[in-house]
Structure formats: C-alpha cells, structure tokens
C-alpha cells in the first residue's frame, strides 16, 4: 500500500473497474498448478468438511466428510486427499539440474505449486498439517500411512508462505491484490468473488455493480474455509442428519458441490487473469529458491526426516526470522526493480527517483581516506521531477545496474548528483549524458547470515540447551474432537 495504490483505488471507483498497480507478474505461475479449496466445519479448530482439488479446470475432485464430528471419517478424508496431492507433489521429484558455485548441488527442474483462495485457507493448511504430521500408522489411533506424509508436506508448504516471494503455496486473492487496485477496501478484497468482479466485471456491469452482486452468498458462496452460516443452518445441517439416518453421503456431497463449484471456477478465472501478465524479471530466481527448498524437503523426507516440532527452539527461531527478513527485503527491492509501476510508489515517497543524466563526469578519481592511489568515482548529475527525499551520503543503487552501488553527493532542487562507487571495471557501468537513469535506496540485500547456536549450544541467556524434541504419544493419540 501507498499513495499510488490509494490513487489507483480512487481511479478504480471512477473508472468502474480495478486499475493495474503492476505491469508484470510478481509471482511464479506453474504450467500445471493444483487448485485446492478446503472447507471446514464451523466452530471446530480444523475439522475438514470437504474440499475441491485438482489440476484440470474441467475435472475437479470433490472430497467430503459426511459427518465431520467423526474422526475416522476425517482421517479417511485426509487419506483420500493424500491420494490426490502426494502424487502431484512428489511427481516433480524427477529431472534435476546441477547448480554450480558455492555449495554445488542438484535441484529439481520444477516443483509443486498449490493455489488456495486466500489467507484463511493458508491458515487452514497449517492446521491440517499440524493435526496430521504427528499421526502414527500403528498404536492407539492408527491412520493410513499416507496421512502423516501429507501432514509433513502441508507443513512444508505452509512454512514456505512465511517467506516473501515464495510461490509454492499461493493465496490467490493476495496474488491478485498485488497486481490490481480495486474500488473497494483491502478488507473486502479478501473476497475472491468481489475482487474478481472488480478486476473483470461482466460486460454491461461496473465493478461496483458486479461486486455488489458477487456479495450474495447464495450465488457466490464464501471461498472458504468458513462456510456461510445460512448454508450451515438451512442446508448442511439437514444433509448431515440425512447421512446419520441413511448412511448415504449423497446429500452432503450435493450440498458441498454447490458451495465449492463457483469458487472452483473463480480460481481458474484468477489463474487466467494472472497468466495475462508477463512474468517479472526476478521471478525465475525466486522460484529457483522454491525449487531448492522443495529439493531439500524431498531428500529430508526420503531420509525419514521427523515431523517438524510444535514450536521453534531459540536457534531455529532466530535463523528463520533472519531469513524471513532477508527474503522480505529482497522481495520488496526486486519488485520495484522489475516493475516501473511498483517503483512509482517509492518515487512518490522520495525513496527513489528517475530522470535524465544531464552531465556525467566519468573519469573522476578521488583518494579515499587511508588509500594510496586515487580510485575512479564517476559523478552522474541527474535532473528529476521526483520529490527526492534522500540525504547526501545516502547509499543508493542503480536500477539499470543492480549490482552497482552509489551514493548521493548533493541535491539541489530538481538536480541530484550521484557518485558511482563500484562495478566500474574499465569505465563500464557508467551512463552517458542523456541516458534515462533511476536510483533508489532499496537494497537487494543478500548478506550472509551470522552463525546462530545449534540446539545444544543454546546459551544461558536463552535458557540453555533445550530438551531434544521427541514426538510424544500425546501427539499421536490426541483425538480429534
């Protein structure tokens, strides 16, 4: 969010349809994504009610739990889900490429991508993973062997979403909202139906009108995982009673199909909408990282890696936080570097400026403090229309030469003087007068993570070494209410 997005929202209201806030697509879109629309039973933490899942728009698979309070039926559902998801997920573990450079490694050429309607579905995936990954296939409450495996994968996918720029598990509403500003509030953008209504209103309707129509839960049921209370009371309750009495899930299936099919269509409409945008320059790099993580997880599970613990220990928590922040920084910078429209947000707030290089002193050399001989430090004088809010000495980067760092020397009205500090091997990387240039303080990051103590090295300040995590019986037997 920022003033440009806000302006675009205002514009959307007047134009009667959503306005672009990106010129390129900032997420990876698989050639064969899997769409997953889970529903849960109201009032329960993670009681699956049903789901529509699949990779072919024309062939959705409908899974239902005809009596969600029955834990055996829930696990049967999870097993059935595993039969569909695991082949898809594990199916990418085939051809690899060799990544050279430091820590040379193999990496799968492609990886699974699962699309869910929105943030609530992501949270539900987390809970499904949490409630199944510790299950035992023997002992008190045995489950199908595929269930804990699915639990591990769902956990993996969820945890990827905590890192900015990952495309392994994507909430579609957020993906759309990243590229279009609607004439409604961000809160309302969480509704897939209204969001799409604004982005591509049916002919003859304004986004406003289309969105209003899309708010009717009868035509456009909530995208889940929460169901419409009206539906629960008027339809579902009855259907479940019917199952209890007759043992036939037909009515529940029929009921849930009516709730899931509209969303299924919307999900694929959203996919087409996103496909319409060309992929941003840095997406491939970020997706490669997703593939790296996928490759690792495949190997970890192959070695019988244990399910992830319930909560992080001190060390892992610190490492994860560091990585999450690094990912966020890189992601924010890359999106701006890749997309002039995203950059406008930063230009408007003075964190970046574009303009014309009106004068370039390419041969300038200066003697650094403590230095022996003068080093090249070209000066670029830029005329810009942007309200620059960077101060002299501020480190900036050139959008056109991402690796090159520079610093603001002085600012005088619409004239900014920038000194280039590196990437100057024999005069390379210096713009010439008349070039269009763009400098910004946004840093692509990429620093090396400091060393954090391993579990047994945990220092006294953080409670000393924690007891090693062992999945307890409790994890396995904790009965689903």
């Amino acid at each position: 969010m920022g003033i440009v997005t806000s302006y675009a929202r205002a514009l959307a209201v007047r134009e009667g349809r959503a306005q672009p806030i990106a010129t390129v697509r900032h997420l990876h879109l698989s050639a064969r994504p899997m769409v997953f629309i889970p529903l849960k039973l109201a009032g329960e933490a993670a009681a699956p009610l049903g789901a529509m899942v699949g990779t072919d728009p024309a062939d959705p698979r409908l899974l239902v739990v005809p009596q969600p309070r029955n834990r055996d039926l829930r696990f049967a559902f999870m097993a059935e889900l595993a039969q569909i998801m695991l082949p898809y997920i594990e199916g990418f573990a085939t051809a690899t490429e060799t990544v050279t450079g430091r820590n040379e490694r193999e990496r799968y050429l492609d990886a699974p991508q699962i699309l869910v309607p929105g943030g609530r579905a992501i949270e539900f995936v987390r809970l499904l993973g949490r409630s199944t990954r510790f299950r035992r296939t023997d002992g008190p409450y045995p489950v199908d062997p595929s269930v804990p495996v699915l639990g591990q994968w769902l956990t993996f996918l969820y945890e990827r979403t905590e890192f900015a720029g990952s495309s392994a598990l994507v909430p579609v509403t957020e993906a759309l909202a990243l590229h279009w500003a609607t004439g409604q509030s961000p809160l309302e953008d969480a509704n897939l139906a209204t969001l799409l209504a604004w982005i591509s209103p049916p002919p003859g309707l304004t986004g406003q009108e289309a969105a209003a129509a899309a708010e009717n839960p009868l035509d456009w049921p909530p995208a889940g995982p929460d169901t419409d209370p009206g539906f629960d009371a008027q339809v579902l309750q009855h259907a479940i009673r019917a199952y209890d009495a007759s043992g036939s899930p037909a009515l529940v299936r029929q009921a849930l199909r009516t709730q899931l099919e509209p969303t299924w269509r919307l999900m694929w409409q959203a996919v087409d909408q996103l496909r319409g945008l060309p992929e941003a320059a840095s997406v491939a790099e970020r997706w490669a990282f997703d593939r790296d993580q996928y490759t690792r997880e495949v190997a970890r599970l192959a070695d019988g890696g244990p399910p992830r613990g319930r909560r992080d220990q001190a060390g892992p928590a610190a490492i994860r936080l560091w990585d999450m922040e690094a990912a966020q920084q890189t992601y924010d910078a890359q999106r701006a570097y890749d997309d002039p429209l995203v950059m406008t947000e930063h230009r408007a707030t003075g964190k970046a400026f574009t303009g014309e290089a009106v004068h370039v002193d390419a041969d300038r050399r200066i003697l650094l403090p403590g230095g022996k001989k003068p080093v090249p430090r070209p000066l670029v004088t830029v005329r810009t229309g942007d309200p620059v809010r960077l101060t002299p000495g501020k480190k900036v980067f050139s959008v056109h030469r991402r690796k090159q760092s520079a610093e603001i020397v002085e600012i005088d009205g619409d004239i900014v003087v920038v000194q280039l500090n590196d990437q100057l091997a024999k005069g390379a990387g210096v713009p010439t007068a008349g070039d269009a240039v763009c400098f910004t303080e946004l840093d692509l990051g990429g620093r090396i993570r400091p060393g954090f103590p391993t579990g047994e090295e945990t220092p006294w300040t953080h409670g000393g070494p924690p007891a090693a995590y062992v999945p307890t019986d409790e994890d396995a037997v904790e009965a689903w209410s």
């Binding site: 009206g230 019917a242 007759s246 019986d473």
Partner: protein
C-alpha cells in the same frame, strides 16, 4: 428389505429435492427480510421434513430391542452409581455396562411421566425416578436424577455434593469393573473409556495416556473423598430434616416450588 430401501430412497430423492428448493427460497426471503414469506416457507419446509423423516422411519427401528424398559435401565444405572446423577452419566453407564440404548431425550420426558404417575396414584410403583433436591431451596436440582427409595439425605444436593457424587460414582464404576474382571469376564472398552475419562479429573488417579487402573482410581478417589465427606453429610442431613419437616409427600420426591423455597429461606 432391500426393496423397501429402494422405494424409500426414490421417495426420499423427491422430498430432498423439494426440501433443498424450499431452503434456498427461505434464505432468499430471509436475505430480503420478508418475514411473512419466511414463516410460510418454514411451515411448508417442516411438512416436507416430517414426510422425509417418516419415509426414513423403517431405518430408525433398532435391530435388537433392549430387554428392559427405559425406566428399568435408568434404575439399573442409578443403582450402580448410588448417587444422584446427570442424564449424561446415566447414559454413559448404561452403554458401558448394560449395552443399553437410553438417550438423553428419552430421560427428560421420563421424568415428567414419573411425576404425573405419582400424582395420579401415589406409590403405585415400587420406585419412582425423581429429581435430586437442592439443599438450600429444596427445589429440583437441574438435570440430576435420583431414586425415590433412596433416603432423603442421599437425594439432597449440597454445595459439596457434586464433587462427592462424582468421586463416589468413579469409585462405583471402578468397583463394578473389578467385579466383572474378578468374575473371570472383562469390562467393555466403553467401561474403561468412561473410567479413564473420570480418572483424568481425580488427582493421582492416572498416569500417562493409557487406560486407568480401577484399584488406583478407587484409592485416589477415596483419598479426596474423605476430605469432603463429613461436611457434605452434615449439610445434607440438615437439609433432609428441613425437607421431612416442611415438604408434603409429592414435593418430598419431586421438589419444592419457589414459595416453599422462600419460606424455607425466611
């Protein structure tokens, strides 16, 4: 049978279609705030649903009808527990030890029938199932059933009684399991599940997640019981005397209304 199910399902399908329609319309009407219409549709819907239930009726017949009538089964369960008990507990004990089919709904109606029958012809039956009485107001205690033949003070619920009652029932359940196993047989899994569930809430009665050990439960429950028993008894006896002094033969069994209560308070 299969044929019956066949035609039933045919009928069901039409009904269900109609029902789904009606529900859709109701939601529309509700959304539009058209209360009159909602009411009309609701009535229609209820009719359809009743028809649907009837169509299912044959399936509702339980395969093996219990040997004893409901009140007998309740009596059986209460006798085992030996203290005024909530319907949930009665149902649990009933299915844990007597493989019965008592449902909570049946129990509520049962209570009313008992009072009616007593009022019409007192003491016609060897025993009646009646509510426990609150010590303070001698009014019927919420959802707690007792047996008329129990001494007054056993049917009274004082502040400590819910706990002593719970501990006592735990002991009785444990004892009954021991009796069964002692007799060479064994108790049902439901029985052990019930015992374990109760033991979880008694200090020192369980360890780990396995099934509870009856002996251990008994000693643990006893240990806590002795703490409360004395003052609980005193409380109940005192109330029992008040009851015998102030209540007539009906209210003595089925509890006093508010008037008696306020008098007893003054």
């Amino acid at each position: 049978m299969g044929q019956l199910v066949g035609c039933v399902t045919v009928e069901l399908d039409d009904l269900e279609e109609r029902i789904t329609e009606l529900r859709g319309e109701i939601r529309l009407a509700k959304a539009g705030g058209d209360d009159a219409k909602v009411r009309r549709l609701r009535a229609e819907l209820r009719k359809a649903e009743r028809a649907w239930d009837d169509a299912l009726e044959p399936d509702f017949e339980p395969d093996d009808v219990p040997l004893l009538p409901i009140r007998e089964q309740v009596h059986q369960a209460l006798t085992l527990l030996g203290v005024p008990s909530a319907t949930k507990m009665i149902v649990a004990v009933n299915e844990a030890f007597f493989a019965g089919r008592v449902t909570t709904t049946q129990l509520t109606s049962l209570r009313r029938d008992e009072e009616k029958s007593f009022r019409s012809s007192p003491y016609a039956r060897p025993y009646y199932l009646c509510p426990a009485l609150t010590a303070e107001l001698l009014s019927p205690a919420r959802g707690l059933l007792a047996i008329s033949t129990w001494p007054m003070d056993v049917r009274i619920i004082g502040p400590l009684s819910p706990r002593t009652g719970f501990l006592t029932s735990a002991i009785r359940v444990a004892e009954h399991i021991t009796r069964l196993t002692g007799a060479g047989g064994d108790a049902s899994t439901e029985a052990y599940r019930l015992l374990t569930r109760m033991a979880r809430n008694i200090p020192g009665a369980t360890e780990g997640f396995g099934r509870a050990d009856p002996a251990r439960v008994i000693s643990a429950a006893d240990a806590e019981l002795v703490v409360h028993l004395e003052s609980d008894r005193r409380h109940r006896r005192e109330a029992a005397e008040r009851a015998t002094a102030r209540l007539n033969e009906v209210t003595r069994l089925f509890g006093a209304g508010l008037k008696t209560a306020s008098r007893s308070a003054s």
